[in-house]
């Protein structure tokens, strides 16, 4: 079943006149006739889960916002999109910006936000221009800003602004994103308090991913029950799967959740160049645990199915690696990324990522020993769960699971090291390197 909710096959859909001709900006009219609480209920009913990585139920997140409309409330749309392997939000900025804007309007009405910020990563100069153009058009048509009152005859309006980042992965973390908007360094905040109580400038704030919000008009138009029947019931809807790495046709494919990973790779992304075998797949951006090529048969792409095989859906950015890939190199590169992007607030993450990188580089240069593999896992375990935000976990998981799942591969790259206890106390701590094969013990 072909179903396109976000990237429709309509030419020039990014233009406001084309969007309007296809029923655009009519769903907000329908939404305004509903009570805000009813919209939240409808979104809850749809089971829509956040598309930014954590998969938190959107309706539930909205219900945390206080109902008092006399205080400022904010909505932030997270388009920081810096997770290696994901490149989906920019498709929405480019091909369907008005559905995003309409989604923002409905969401802002539901939670009572008078101001919305779309946070877009700074490198996306061209996509910021495209989004700004769409936003200017929407303002000119009276769909956004104070004219909203006149256009729709209601006592509510919201302003939408684009806030561009300046190159920091961590600003995709919701509390770091708020600090960045406030004009501070993008340091994640300690939670609780959660953003719904204490967000931007201390006021209630909700942060949602671009793809999440772009789904909202569909849910209001067709109803939560309709939406819940697409794909897997526990994680319904379509996902923008970004396929990259060793595939013939990399790109973004909008498919229902629960689509087989093998279908995505072979049917849509055209298979592996040279018909090689798959060694490893990262199913949702580099921070999720990688899975082995022999685990992918029959694997469905949704949050629950991936959890069962010990991974996560993340952002749906699938990186495929063929049989000739050097996984040590891949892991070192992933770790270098987290080392570079660690904000430096928490010691385990700031120091740990650097240590892991050094050890991995040592292995990469053929100077590692088997103890290094255990040391890596030990360092990863000491980062995981000991930091303010999830970047620590994101740095620890690839290391931990890559080594666990491809131990043989890593063992081949290191020398075996055996610690022999020597009775002499003074020397008992000394480690002796023993080469792998010539270790022979005579029978007497």
């Amino acid at each position: 079943m072909e179903i396109k909710l976000l990237l429709k096959d309509i030419p020039d859909y990014h233009r406001i006149d084309v969007y309007k001709a296809h029923g655009g900006y009519e769903i907000i009219r329908k939404a305004l006739q509903m009570k805000p609480d009813d919209i939240i209920e409808e979104v809850k009913k749809s089971n829509l889960r956040g598309r930014g990585g954590a998969g938190f139920p959107t309706g539930l997140k909205w219900s945390f916002m206080p109902k008092d409309n006399s205080i400022p409330k904010f909505l932030c749309i997270n388009g920081d999109e810096s997770e290696p392997g994901s490149f989906k939000d920019r498709q929405i900025f480019e091909f369907n910006p008005h559905q995003l804007i309409e989604g923002i309007l409905i969401s802002a009405y539901a939670i009572g936000a008078q101001t919305c910020y779309i946070y877009i990563r700074g490198e996306y100069f061209r996509w910021i221009e495209l989004m700004q153009k769409a936003l200017d058009d929407a303002y000119a048509h009276g769909y956004v800003g104070e004219k909203f009152k006149e256009t729709f005859g209601v006592d509510f309006y919201t302003n939408i602004y684009i806030h561009r980042g300046a190159g920091a992965y961590i600003c995709g973390e919701e509390s770091a994103l708020m600090n960045s908007i406030e004009g501070k360094r993008g340091y994640p905040r300690v939670k609780p308090p959660f953003p719904a109580q204490n967000g931007l400038w201390g006021y209630p704030t909700t942060i949602n991913n671009v793809e999440t919000i772009a789904n909202i008009p569909i849910i209001i138009e067709k109803g939560g029950d309709w939406f819940r029947n697409i794909g897997e019931p526990k994680h319904p809807g379509t996902l923008l799967f970004g396929v990259s790495g060793h595939v013939n046709k990399p790109g973004v494919y909008e498919l229902p959740t629960g689509t087989l990973l093998t279908d995505i790779i072979y049917k849509y992304a055209g298979g592996i160049p040279g018909n090689k075998k798959i060694k490893c797949v990262i199913p949702g951006g580099t921070s999720v645990p990688p899975i082995r090529g022999d685990q992918i048969e029959g694997l469905k792409m949704d949050a629950e199915s991936l959890k069962e095989v010990g991974s996560a859906i993340g952002t749906g950015g699938i990186i495929v690696m063929d049989e000739d890939t050097d996984l040590v190199k891949v892991l070192a590169r992933i770790t270098k990324f987290y080392w570079h992007e660690s904000c430096g607030q928490c010691t385990p993450c700031r120091e740990g990522t650097g240590w892991m990188l050094k050890i991995l580089n040592r292995i990469l240069h053929g100077k590692g020993t088997s103890k290094d593999l255990d040391l890596l896992i030990d360092v990863a375990n000491n980062i995981e769960g000991h930091t303010i935000c999830a970047l620590g976990d994101a740095a620890a998981w690839p290391v931990k699971y890559m080594i666990e799942r491809f131990r043989d591969e890593f063992e081949q790259r290191v020398e075996r090291e055996i610690v022999i206890d020597i009775p002499n106390k003074v020397h008992s701590l000394r480690r002796t390197k023993i080469p792998l094969t010539p270790l022979k013990i005579s029978s007497n």
Partner: protein
Amino acid sequence: MEIRFTDEELQKIESLKTRYLKPDSVILEVLYLIQEKYGFISYEGIKYASKILDISEEHVYGIVSFYSMFNTKPIGKYHLQVCTNVSCMLRGAYELLHKLEDELKIKAGETTPDGLFTISEVECLGSCGTAPVIQINKDYLENLNEDKLMHVLNDLKKAYGN
């Protein structure tokens, strides 16, 4: 070098301030503007931003050093930013980077003596489906290979009269 915004630019900054509860939020835009006008953010630039926003110099410096898109040193006319993260790496980003380094006879992080090119190795640019990718100033060059890259490089050199 004296850093100064025109009245028009100052007005733009003022109007941006109205979008936020507190004026500090426009600091990234102020720094972008300085970088666009003067090529990089010098100590004078930091002092100027600190003055017009009434934020301490230390805070401004903290921001400049935190965000990777701000340059504290002059860079070339064309900033070649090579993404070498996993998806690009799997499709030959390091080969491209090394080719660039050989061709321009500089290392990543350096600028050619004529001030035309700076090479940087950068993190994921969010263009994994069209990897490998190089960002030249504001534009993405996608689906690159060596031939295409050399072609673009020669065009840029020619455009500058070399």
